[in-house]
Amino acid sequence: MSLFFDAALILLAIVVALKVVTGRDPLTDVIAFIAYGIVLTLVWVRLAAVDVALTEVAVGSGATGLVLLRAAGAAATAKQEARPGRVTKGLAALVSLVVFLLLAAAVLAWPKPQPSLALAVAEHLPATGLGNPITGVLIVFRALDTLLETVVLLLALVGIWALAPDRTGARAWSGTPAPLSGMTPSGAQVLLAQLLLPVGLLVTVYQFWAGANVPAGAFQGGAVLGAMWVLLLLARLAPLPRLEQPGLAVLVLAGPFAFLATGLAGWVWAGGFLDYPEGIEKPVIIVVEAAIVVSIGVTLGLLVLGPAGPQAADRPGADAS
């Protein structure tokens, strides 16, 4: 019975993916892509990977979908390149089929027993003071990956801010991004933002705190925090951020730099980069994770907002703040 359910889910994911790839309307395609992310979330739950499912629904489907929705309007007006001919399509289908067959062969010819680091993680997890193995891997065993992941987010933000159109007389990386929606928010939107904000903040704190022991964590919590900010911006309950504000830079950099500082301190107190001091691992991890939650939330929001718009320089008093 559960196998039937899994097969139905996979089939649904394939149908939605085909819809995204073959659709003709950018907005419909992007909405189908968000649905694809939600279907994948359910598949991840079926794979007993609830942490991944939470990340997929928050970042893979939600945040990515939001960014793509902003692009769908621009794509509709952009001039279309020539559609590929029948030969190109045939060759593309052939290449895809070969890749599928190779991957399928790899899946069906799995080694027995499957190489796994689960036992090694189970053995060393008690030393970290954490109960959730995935948080343990992310923050302790493979902390370097996670540190660089926060840096990748920063790099993407730098890249996006660098794409702001030139404005004479304005400082680089200043001004405000274009508003998320040109429409005045309806009463329902404002009410939704007001009702959801406290719930969202509670979910953020819960995900961050409970992530030590149950599926959840800093990235998922940060994504919810970012979503709450976007919700406030959509309802026009919060002003658009001014990119040159020093406070904004502090919020964005707090996570990566707190992580890096802990990593460097590891040499002093434990004898190696990103090593945690024995006995007080848990408090140190909580401080680093709290900084990461805030930075992830603000960075995700800024990535969704995009570069500063051209309108900011024309506004009177734009240089005073």
């Binding site: 007006t77 190109t88 289908a93 890749v99």
Partner: protein, 108 residues
């Protein structure tokens, strides 16, 4: 057949669909969407591997899970950057298209 190979095969199919869309995509947004579908399928194949490696009382090997979480966030960063490039490209080509046609039309 248990769930892991089935989901692994499904992931392989999603990779193929994404690859096809990436090649035949007629505009930038379409290719970005197709690339994300490809990535989602690849993560699922990895997730199926992790499920098979379940041991030590966990539902799956936690190391691939952590890598996939990192992967999803990195894929989002790349997508956000790609979308910003697309938007800038659309704005730039709109300016380019406007400049010559404005000349006969008088002040805009």
């Amino acid at each position: 057949m248990s769930a892991a190979p089935l989901i692994g095969l499904g992931g392989a199919a999603l990779v193929a669909i994404g690859l096809y869309g990436l090649i035949v995509g007629s505009d930038g947004l379409k290719r970005v969407l197709a690339f994300n579908i490809l990535g989602g399928g690849m993560f699922l194949v990895f997730g199926a591997v992790a499920r098979r490696g379940a041991d030590g009382g966990f539902g799956g090997d936690p190391v691939p899970h952590a890598l996939v979480i990192t992967g999803i966030v990195v894929a989002f960063s790349a997508t956000a950057l790609a979308v910003a490039l697309l938007n800038r490209l659309a704005a730039a080509s709109a300016e380019e298209g406007k400049a010559p046609s404005d000349t006969p039309g008088g002040p805009s």
